[in-house]
Symmetry: C2
Subunit: 125 residues, 2 copies
DNA sequence: ATAACCGTACCACATGATATAGTACACTTG
DNA sequence: CAAGTGTACTATATCATGTGGTACGGTTAT
């Protein structure tokens, strides 16, 4: 269910955080959905329970999930505003980098349409 | 001349690479301009010569600079196409992330105009 | 030629992040 | 009570990063 690349230079716990955050964003996981336990997740993906616990704690700090000792870990009610602000901040940085290498605003606008078309098609699969 | 943050979680050699790449992109450094020697750079910025050497070797692998033993390190002839492709690839990723959190294409387009205005103003300073 | 500088290549060492392994505790559910 | 849960430790190993030192060969200017 959760694909983890053990050979990547990206820390495993970071991959887990990113993956779960993705699943929340695209609607696969919703509020109060229960996550796998740290032990079962660890067993299924072949990593150490401590590593999964670290990822869950990181996610809890970021308000993505909440954990209850004895019960489990669950998806939290999301603050979409923060997600949007983060996405826009990253978008700004990418746009400025594009301007730096001489790409004009019009080309970026055209590109947005293209990406959005592909995005909708991808969603239909 | 080169501001390095010794306390950052980002590796020093990576900061050096990014900084020099920036200076090339914005035109501060041009083809065949000579860079500080690994020793003088290290002394000025308070890091180890080995760390600067590592950064220079990384830059050479990326085709940003070229080094000649006995003479020094210099800015290489840049392949702008690669820079543009990288910038566009990053832009695509940022745009998709924005779509993921429900930001519509039109809002991104408006944002591009805003960013571009600020970008031009920033360039005039 | 000599001295000074250049990039480069080592080696040893310290540190921090990452990951594993094992154990233990308190809590909740059946 | 038993099983499963998150959490908190300790210890250990590995890797990336950074430092310090030394050395070699090439280049430049005196």
């Amino acid at each position: 269910m959760f694909s983890i690349d053990l050979t990547s230079r990206v820390p495993i716990y970071e991959q887990i955080c990113k993956k779960i955050t993705e699943l929340v964003l695209n609607g696969t996981l919703s509020e109060n959905d229960q996550l796998p336990s740290v032990r079962s997740f660890a067993k299924d993906s072949g990593v150490n329970p401590n590593t999964v616990a670290k990822a869950y704690q990181e996610l809890e700090r970021n308000g993505i999930i909440y954990s209850v000792p004895g019960r489990g870990s669950f998806i939290a009610k999301q603050k979409m505003e923060e997600f949007k602000n983060n996405a826009l901040a990253n978008f700004d940085i990418a746009a400025v980098s594009a301007f730096d290498v001489g790409i004009p605003p019009d080309e970026l606008k055209k590109r947005i349409d293209k990406i959005h078309d592909n995005y909708r098609k991808g969603k239909q699969l």
